[in-house]
């Protein structure tokens, strides 16, 4: 489906959390990620879009290795991460970077900026001289200049946007190949968001980075990724190139998402938006068949509530998991 060198490959990845109900309770599972497969090429950015409870954050953390997959495979640069040994894991940690949602929380409050940026390098045994060089370079790349002004400061002395730049600097300082950005701008002011996203895009282009950009805000995805994957209740229900997704959303859920987002327009106050009724399902007992069917106005009785839809290729580079398109396999 995609051309170019494959960086990351997920094959039927699942992450379930075990919980026990009651004292002698039954064991139940929260199926946060329930069968996700996709491929990411070198230098490409994917927006992983979903609402809270869709499992997108868990997916991001599992890809990073912060959670151990329950089943399925993660293949990075040809190596199967699920057969981990500690040496492979150390290598993998160098190859990936993490940009988190809360810029202040992501920085240890008692370390200076210089120290924060040094830490990943100290852990990965990079020599002192090179460390200094890399810190300067990283801060310049995220445009926190003059660098000397920032080295001795503590996180609380910086604005939200500046803090997030430090987080990004830290994420790229080991020269990774893949960055996972989990809601990197949702805690920042509107005017700063674009700045930070633009920065990420520039870095991606410059260093040929793969980025998985996790967000609930579809309107920002347009400028910052080649692909959009839409996630619902632990599964990816639609994948397409960005322009295609925004022009031709196919899955009823995707359509609803797009339709619910207001662009600034004075006419909006007279329009009622059509929203699928109900709430996202519990991840412990997801609905049988297609997980969206209880809320879907197009649900086909007897089919959507019984069998899970397969991934259907409706256009080049456009896949949907929906029974409505069963005949359009290209």
């Amino acid at each position: 489906m995609m051309s170019g060198e494959t960086l990351l490959s997920l094959i039927d990845l699942r992450k379930w959390y075990r919980i026990k109900r009651g004292l002698f309770g039954r064991i139940e599972y929260i199926r946060a990620v329930d069968g996700v497969s996709f491929t990411l090429n070198k230098g490409e950015a994917v927006s992983l879009v979903g609402e809270s409870g869709s499992g997108k954050t868990t997916l991001g953390r599992t890809i990073l290795g912060l959670e151990k997959p329950t089943s399925g495979k993660i293949i990075f640069e040809g190596k199967d991460l699920t057969e981990l040994d500690s040496k492979t894991m150390s290598w993998y940690r160098r190859e990936t970077g993490f940009v988190q949602q809360d810029p202040f929380g992501a920085l240890p409050p008692f370390m200076t900026i210089m120290r924060i940026l040094e830490e990943p390098m100290i852990i990965n045994k990079i020599e002192k001289k090179e460390r200094r060089e890399r810190i300067y370079k990283a801060l310049e790349e995220v445009r926190l200049t003059p660098v000397e002004d920032y080295l001795k400061k503590y996180p609380h002395m910086l604005s939200g946007g500046q803090q997030q730049r430090v987080v990004i600097a830290r994420a790229i300082i080991l020269n990774p190949k893949l960055i996972i950005a989990d809601e990197p701008v949702s805690m920042l002011d509107a005017s700063v968001r674009i700045e930070i996203l633009t920065l990420l895009r520039e870095l991606q282009k410059k260093h040929d980075l793969g980025i998985i950009y996790i967000t609930h805000d579809l309107s920002t995805t347009r400028y910052f990724s080649e692909w959009i994957y839409v996630m619902y209740a632990g599964k990816i229900i639609e994948k397409a190139r960005t322009q295609e997704m925004l022009k031709n959303p196919s899955h009823p859920y995707t359509k609803a998402l797009l339709q619910a987002i207001p662009d600034p327009d004075a006419k909006n106050r007279f329009i009622f938006r059509e929203i699928p009724p109900g709430e996202p399902p519990s991840l412990i007992n997801p609905p049988k068949g297609c997980r969206f069917h209880p809320r879907c106005v197009f649900a086909i009785k007897g089919l959507c509530d019984r069998k899970e839809p397969p991934e259907i290729n409706i256009e080049k580079d456009h896949l949907v998991s929906c029974w409505l398109y069963a005949d359009s396999n290209k």
Partner: protein, 319 residues
């Protein structure tokens, strides 16, 4: 005196901190008609939450200056004493949905009782009648009446926000202030809540004052738009004019920075950082970040009135 429905005139609210006085509301004036909704747009730190709380007289403990006029149906609310205000206005004619209020519901009290509480306190209605009314309001906001007996943790985020809106509605206010009512909610839930607010607006004559940093969201309800920067309103106008052609450079930059789903445009960002509310300069507060900065901008710009109900605080439009 005023013959508008709701008019704020020269409102100031400063509060004391160790470092100096924070001029959170620094000379704000606007007016709205009955049934009209005003959207107040601004980024974090511009003072919009302080303004919201000032309108309903929820002042911080260390308030230093609070002066100006707030006219409701011609009566100056600022002249009222604390107890008078609380007895007659607060929550009865003006109520508020605070930011992230859905997280401040009391976890050990049933939601029905919490919604009924303003009635019991202000109007001294007995519990049974109050709960009846709560049931009515629940159906108004789209919560099944059975939920009266549920606890907050049993409700989803969207439901809890509706509960908060119900609490604001229960006394039949004339004005409801909404401070970032959907910031903690998902896209679909947000759209649902906005639908609800539109419905309420259609079915009653309530005026909303919607405070948000989300320009797109503001257009869902706004009849009038005010843009706030560094404690002041820099532009006020009606929705049609504002969304199509904003006048103040800050408003223009704000519009330009909104990533749009449908329109093809590259969003720009505003360089620099928002001004601190402590010791703002005597010049135009946006001057340092303004692409149209002129020499005269080192003096505070006047409020230029363009048509009825439209003004800009900018030298570019001064005669």
């Amino acid at each position: 005196m005023s013959d508008e429905f709701f008019e704020v005139e020269d409102l100031y609210m400063y509060y004391r901190t160790r470092i100096g006085p924070v001029k959170a509301v620094d000379g704000v004036s606007f007016s709205i008609n009955r049934g009209e909704t005003l959207a107040l747009i601004g980024e974090s730190g511009c003072g919009k939450s302080s303004l919201a709380k000032s309108l309903i007289r929820l002042l911080p403990r260390n308030v230093e200056i609070f002066k100006g006029h707030i006219y409701l149906d011609g009566e100056d609310l600022m002249k009222m004493s604390e107890s008078q205000f609380r007895k007659n206005i607060q929550w009865q004619r003006i109520s508020m949905v605070a930011q992230a209020a859905l997280n401040s519901l009391n976890p050990v009290i049933k939601v029905g009782e919490q919604v009924a509480e303003p009635l019991i306190i202000h109007k001294e209605v007995d519990k049974k009648t109050a709960l009846e009314r709560a049931r009515e309001v629940f159906s108004l906001v789209g919560i099944p009446e059975a939920f009266i007996d549920r606890y907050p943790f049993e409700l989803s985020g969207g439901m809890r926000q509706r509960t908060i809106i119900a609490m604001a509605l229960i006394m039949n206010p004339e004005i409801i202030i909404l401070d970032e009512p959907t910031s903690a909610l998902d896209v679909l839930t947000q759209a649902n809540i906005m639908n609800l607010l539109k419905k309420i607006r259609n079915e009653s004559n309530i005026s909303f004052i919607l405070i948000t940093h989300d320009v797109g969201l503001s257009s869902e309800l706004a009849d009038k738009v005010a843009v706030m920067y560094a404690g002041q309103i820099v532009e006020l106008g009606d929705a049609e004019n504002f969304y199509s052609s904003p006048l103040h450079p800050y408003s223009q930059k704000l519009m330009a920075s909104v990533p749009t789903l449908r329109r093809d445009k590259t969003p720009e960002y505003i360089p620099g950082a928002p001004l601190s509310l402590i010791n703002p300069p005597k010049s135009c507060r946006f001057a340092d970040r303004c692409p149209f900065k002129m020499e005269i901008c080192s003096k505070e710009p006047p409020v230029v009135s363009l048509e009825k109900g439209r003004f800009v605080r900018c030298w570019l439009h001064a005669k």
